[in-house]
């Protein structure tokens, strides 16, 4: 493996990791703040990708505007789902099981709705002007769109850090993660907080779907592929741990990128193995403090 090849794989792994992180951060945010396990998170990714196709490829909206609108659209669907469906089962016995089931139903419904609206053929989105070709750095030619994704990822991480740690909204979200009842007693509208967090998280998922669309083709099965990968990332980082998700995404992204070079056939197994090892030895996640958990 020569150096330039190494860098290429590194960049490709980073691109995958960034996309993974962007989806997984939403998933882990909902779990951390609201104790909601959103199995349908991949479906919001898919909604974002299809909305981007509709706006950018069909309606010829400006690429960047299309990205943002797709994210907002997915977030809107998320808010509707939270208010009309998920909110009704909070606090029920066997709640976790019913959440998984309810969001599993959402996967089935959204998958079919997407097929009805956009058909089953593959859809593609052109890369935006200025990001179609490679960038030359020394002897290396790196696809500029990959670099763009990595930069966007870094911006989102910094923005998320700022919102979570420096603003009032972030403080409320962190407080909700610790004790929702107490938060309600302090005069904060807890159901509204949950809805907003769910909306932001699904918007992030939809935005990622739109951002990834020019790289990967848009298909009805996209949501299902994404959810399993982002689940792995969230579990490795620790469910509800925002920064853990970042580390988990980097680990899985690079592991896949280099695994494919070393053992092409079995590379997809690695991420499952890592997930299993983490769940067995440290179910709280690699980057979360150890807690005592019983049954």
């Amino acid at each position: 493996m020569d150096f330039s090849f190494f860098i290429m794989q590194l960049i490709s792994g980073l691109t995958v990791a960034t996309l993974l992180f962007l989806v997984a951060s939403g998933l882990t945010l909902i779990f951390g703040v609201g104790d909601v396990f959103n199995f349908a998170h991949g479906s919001f990714y898919m909604i974002g990708a299809y909305l981007a196709f509709q706006m950018i490829s069909v309606l010829q909206v400006n690429f960047w505007l299309g990205l943002v609108l797709s994210g907002l659209g997915a977030g809107l669907v998320g808010i509707v789902a939270e208010v009309f469906l998920l909110r009704r089962i909070y606090g029920r016995k066997h709640e976790a099981g019913f959440q998984i089931l309810l969001t599993f139903c959402l996967i089935l419904i959204i998958d079919d709705l997407v097929k009805i609206i956009w058909g089953t053929e593959y859809k593609t989105i052109q890369r935006p002007s200025g990001f179609t070709g490679p960038v030359q750095i020394g002897d290396l030619y790196i696809p500029s769109y990959n670099l763009l994704i990595i930069v966007v990822g870094i911006i989102v991480v910094v923005a998320a850090w700022w919102v979570l740690n420096k603003t009032r909204a972030g403080k409320i979200a962190r407080a909700a993660a610790v004790d929702r009842e107490m938060l309600g007693a302090m005069g904060i509208n807890v159901p509204m907080t949950m809805t907003m967090v769910f909306g932001i998280a699904t918007a992030l998922g939809g935005f990622t779907g739109a951002l990834a669309a020019p790289l990967r083709s848009v298909t009805p099965g996209a949501g299902v592929e994404v959810i399993i990968d982002s689940l792995i990332v969230v579990v490795i980082g620790g469910m509800g741990n925002f920064w853990g998700a970042w580390m988990g995404a980097l680990l899985i992204g690079e592991l896949t990128a280099f695994g494919i070079v070393i053992v092409p056939k079995w590379a997809t197994l690695f991420s499952y193995l890592v997930m299993i090892i983490v769940l067995i030895f440290k179910p709280e996640g690699l980057f979360s403090p150890r807690k005592i958990r019983k049954v």
Partner: protein, 319 residues
């Protein structure tokens, strides 16, 4: 009172036997026989699954692992060793599933709640990937087709009665387990594991036992399915298969022993009827289960029992 309930119990089993026993008499087309066989096998799968979730409170999103294993042991043995290995393959599949369930179960019971669900999902997906990639041995995505049973069992009607016998016997055994002292401990584990410990019972050992029992019966369902479809496919391992069995269970009701039984019949019939009109059947199923979860969380059987209870109360007050 005791004789009355025993009479009821016997008549329930007799009704089930008669209804399913008469299927080949009235349904003559291969398609309908096939549908009836599918229903029986999914009944076993769903009932065995609910021994974990409804009874013990362990939601597994990976029982497809054992369903696939049971099927692949039969399918691959017939492929490589000939059709005489159909039934030995099924038996070996059950033993192997029990061993694998023991090994995986020892790891699974270390974690609880959502983590348990995720870990079961991870193991099932890992096995799916292995079967998918190991093309030379398993046939990968193509699976194996043309797997025939030996002798007279290749006759669909004979095989149907074979399935009926095995499924009814299995359900009967599972019901005995659910209402045994062991089943009572499992119910307690579901409600309050700490108190079970105070009473001097081992929570994890009981969880492990029921995990193995459930997995073996799920593997049996998988092995039986090979004779119906005459093929095996990697889709048997995939997580949506585990999801489908959860949908059935909720449709029927998770807190009743016969909930998954009714749910499996309902879901397969809905799939069949809706599938005849539209390809978007998962939209319909998703919506139906969504409504069940939101408005009728007790499921078909649970809500029916509640209605009946209310009706009887009303009658008593009126008379």
């Amino acid at each position: 009172m005791k004789t009355e309930s025993r009479f009821r119990e016997t008549s329930l089993w007799a009704t089930i036997m008669i209804i399913f026993g008469l299927v080949p008499v009235f349904m003559t087309s291969t398609y309908q026989m096939n549908l009836a066989s599918h229903i029986l096998i999914w009944i076993l799968f769903a009932t065995a699954f609910n021994m974990l979730w409804g009874l013990t409170g362990m939601l597994s999103f990976g029982q497809a692992l054992y369903y696939g294993l049971g099927a692949y042991f039969v399918g691959l043995m017939v492929k490589y060793l000939g059709s005489a290995w159909f039934f030995p393959g099924m038996a070996i599949g059950l033993v192997a599933s029990a061993i694998i369930a023991l090994l995986i179960g020892l790891l699974l019971i270390r974690v609880g709640g959502v983590y348990f669900t995720m870990l079961t999902l991870a193991f099932a997906q890992l096995m799916y990937q292995i079967m998918f990639k190991w093309y030379n041995f398993t046939g990968g995505d193509d699976g194996v087709v043309g797997i025939m049973q030996p002798g007279i069992f290749s006759n669909p009607i004979v095989y149907y009665y074979f399935i009926l016998g095995i499924v009814i016997a299995s359900i009967w055994i599972l019901k005995r387990i659910a209402y045994s002292p062991f089943g009572m401990v499992l119910r307690c584990v579901n409600q309050n594991p700490d108190r079970v410990r105070f009473l001097g019972r081992r929570v994890r050992r009981n969880q492990l036992r029921i995990y193995i029992v459930s997995s073996v019966f799920v593997a049996l369902a998988g092995g039986l399915m090979v004779g119906v479809d005459n093929s095996i496919h990697t889709d048997m391992f995939v997580w949506t298969t585990s999801g489908e069995v959860i949908l059935m269970t909720v449709l029927g009701g998770i807190n009743q022993f016969f909930g998954p039984f009714v749910g499996a019949i309902a879901l397969i019939l809905i799939e069949d009827i809706v599938g005849a009109y539209t390809e978007y059947w998962s939209l319909i199923i998703g919506t139906i289960v969504l409504i069940m979860v939101l408005l009728f969380p007790k499921g078909l059987v649970g809500e029916f029992l509640q209605l009946k209870h209310r009706f009887l109360k009303l009658k008593k007050h009126g008379g």
